[in-house]
Symmetry: C2
Subunit: 367 residues, 2 copies
């Protein structure tokens, strides 16, 4: 099978400040171990997709850094977006590039910055999704079995009437996509058994997603029409680069979920394979704390850290600098070379306000 991967690495991750920076966004962080999140994403694909068939879409500013993190991926497979336009243009670009190379391509589209604990099960789920997508015009996604009424994720409603217990390695018809719900709605979703978390992972033939974009997002299709032709003629030379530049000038800012998957689902063209492999999108320091190994007092610490009468806290020291926590609870402390964040673990979503403030006050050296 002509299987390709598209790793979407467009994020900035301001909620991981001060560890994440404009010059060093989330996908390059090693918040959960020795490798960066994008390296982990790449490694998980290795048994299924050879490195020469892995493509990455990122901001042009991060193309070099992406190549450094993924030396096994051919340099020309790292595609730069001149400006971030959400996921629909990103996917249109990658699909055009790969379709120009291989009209029979099947694409596995994955965010660069997710955490997956049970990699073997993830790969099983992915194989089932690929099998479904390879058959034709259908758009396949992976849905995560919800473990609690999370309000931070979108949901996928699917036809679970055909489910036979835990035998989930197959695709089901998707009925609808739901935005991030309030708590009462999330509880209702969980109780119903008909909802999965929207993982943002997609599997489809390149020609299928290009047709779906043409049908549901004609503006995006129009913007990228010339890109595939340029790629076919030019093999990613100057003409192709100019076509990409023009496409991003024209392309609207829209997500693939809202622009394609929702309308396609209402037409019965979307399938979901449920998965349960310890997934998280690791959205902020709270998520890192939740995923980290903890001591008996519920503390997680990295580096040169001393804890005294401290519980349920996360501390990340910088190089040789000592970090001491005394008498505190439910606190995250992150020290980097030039900044220290002290944040309540219930307020980690507010860290982006600090980044916004720094940016809007010209304090760019810390952003």
């Amino acid at each position: 099978m002509n299987l390709y991967a598209v790793i979407m690495a467009g994020g900035v991750g301001s909620r991981f400040w001060p560890h994440s920076r404009r010059a060093h966004p989330k996908q390059f962080l090693d918040v959960l171990g020795p490798s960066s999140l994008i390296q982990n994403t790449f490694a998980r694909l290795q048994p299924l997709i050879e490195p020469e068939r892995v493509f990455v879409v990122t901001h042009t500013d991060y193309v070099e850094k992406t190549r450094e993190h993924l030396p096994a991926v051919p340099a020309e497979n790292v595609l730069g977006e001149p400006v971030a336009r959400n996921t629909a243009p990103c996917i249109a670009l990658a699909a055009a590039r790969i379709h120009a190379l291989d009209p029979e391509a099947v694409l596995v589209v994955l965010p660069a910055d997710h955490l997956i604990r049970n990699v073997a099960h993830f790969q099983e789920v992915l194989r089932a999704a690929v099998e479904e997508a390879a058959q034709g015009d259908v758009l396949v996604t992976i849905g995560i079995e919800p473990t609690h009424p999370e309000t931070g994720y979108g949901y996928i409603q699917y036809d679970s009437t055909l489910r036979d217990g835990d035998d989930t390695l197959r695709a089901y018809a998707v009925q609808a996509f739901a935005e991030k719900p309030d708590l009462a709605t999330a509880e209702r979703f969980l109780d119903s058994g008909d909802f999965l978390w929207n993982s943002g992972m997609f599997i489809w033939r390149a020609d299928a997603i290009l047709r779906a974009i043409e049908r549901h997002l004609p503006d995006v299709h129009a913007a990228f029409a010339a890109v595939e032709a340029a790629y076919a003629e030019d093999d990613a030379g100057d003409a192709a680069e100019a076509a990409v530049q023009r496409a991003y000038e024209r392309a609207p800012k829209i997500s693939i979920d809202y622009g394609v998957m929702e309308p396609a689902a209402s037409e019965g063209a979307v399938r979901v394979v449920p998965g349960s492999f310890g997934w998280s999108d690791v959205g902020d320091w709270r998520a890192v704390y939740d995923l980290a190994e903890k001591d008996a007092a519920g503390n997680a610490a990295e580096g040169n850290v001393l804890l005294h009468n401290t519980s349920r806290s996360y501390a990340r020291a910088h190089d040789g600098r000592l970090l001491a926590l005394v008498g505190v609870h439910d606190i995250a402390v992150v020290d980097t070379g030039d900044a220290v964040l002290v944040c309540h673990l219930d307020a980690t979503q507010q860290v982006k306000n600090i980044v916004d403030y720094l940016g809007s006050h010209g304090l760019d050296e810390h952003v």
Copy 2:
């Protein structure tokens, strides 16, 4: 009058870690403004005592740093203790040195690291105490009018029957010294109106305190007997230095309060002048927070600090490094070059445990 000052600068101030270090103890800190605490102590004496008559007793390790902080004080007036033996040996040393120079000397003995807000009133109180002490064999101390039932200070019980309202610029007979009380006892002390806080400031003739030490602390007197003679012969040369070394090898570790003032008080030989001049011994970061200027949310910040949804907190940034607090309350954060402390403001007394731990685990670079 032959008035001299003795500044006792022997402290290490481990509760101010990481700002205080073995190499940089509390008296050299600028925790409350542009000058160090020892510089403030020296400056408060300037209208009363000329710099040539100011002496400082400190550990030999800190002699050079003390001279740097007090360039107006003659270098030979900074006396080094080879080992810390609490306040009685410290005072015996200074009294021997100054008595050798001037048998009529009257000494003002002050800790180096206290805060005083109302300097003019402090100087009035000090003048009254000096007047009392100059008359002869009496030992005079300054007592602070208590404002609340503080359990962190010792207390002085005095004969208040002669007091005439707020006209306090006179000396009263001291009946007893009391150790740091529990809260119930402190409340009883406060209600009685007969108790003052023990400030650790003393005023007496050099010959009077030397006689009192001979009477109440014969061990200390015996240890230092040779020191005054050596000073008189040698004017602080090698022979005097050797005598000091021998004295500290012999001297017991004992405070002047316990060793001299308590027994002298029971013999009716101690007087106290009450004062109310915004005094604090600035014992830890909580005390610094309490004394600092605060914004409407009760935060005190120094340096490059950003606060978001944060209240009642103290933040002290280091040089250009940014310190950001998000969603925290009642927290102290102190960043120095090589260490960061994050401490609940109710746990600041526990900071010394961190210093003890570092010391006992060979982590000396942070102590």
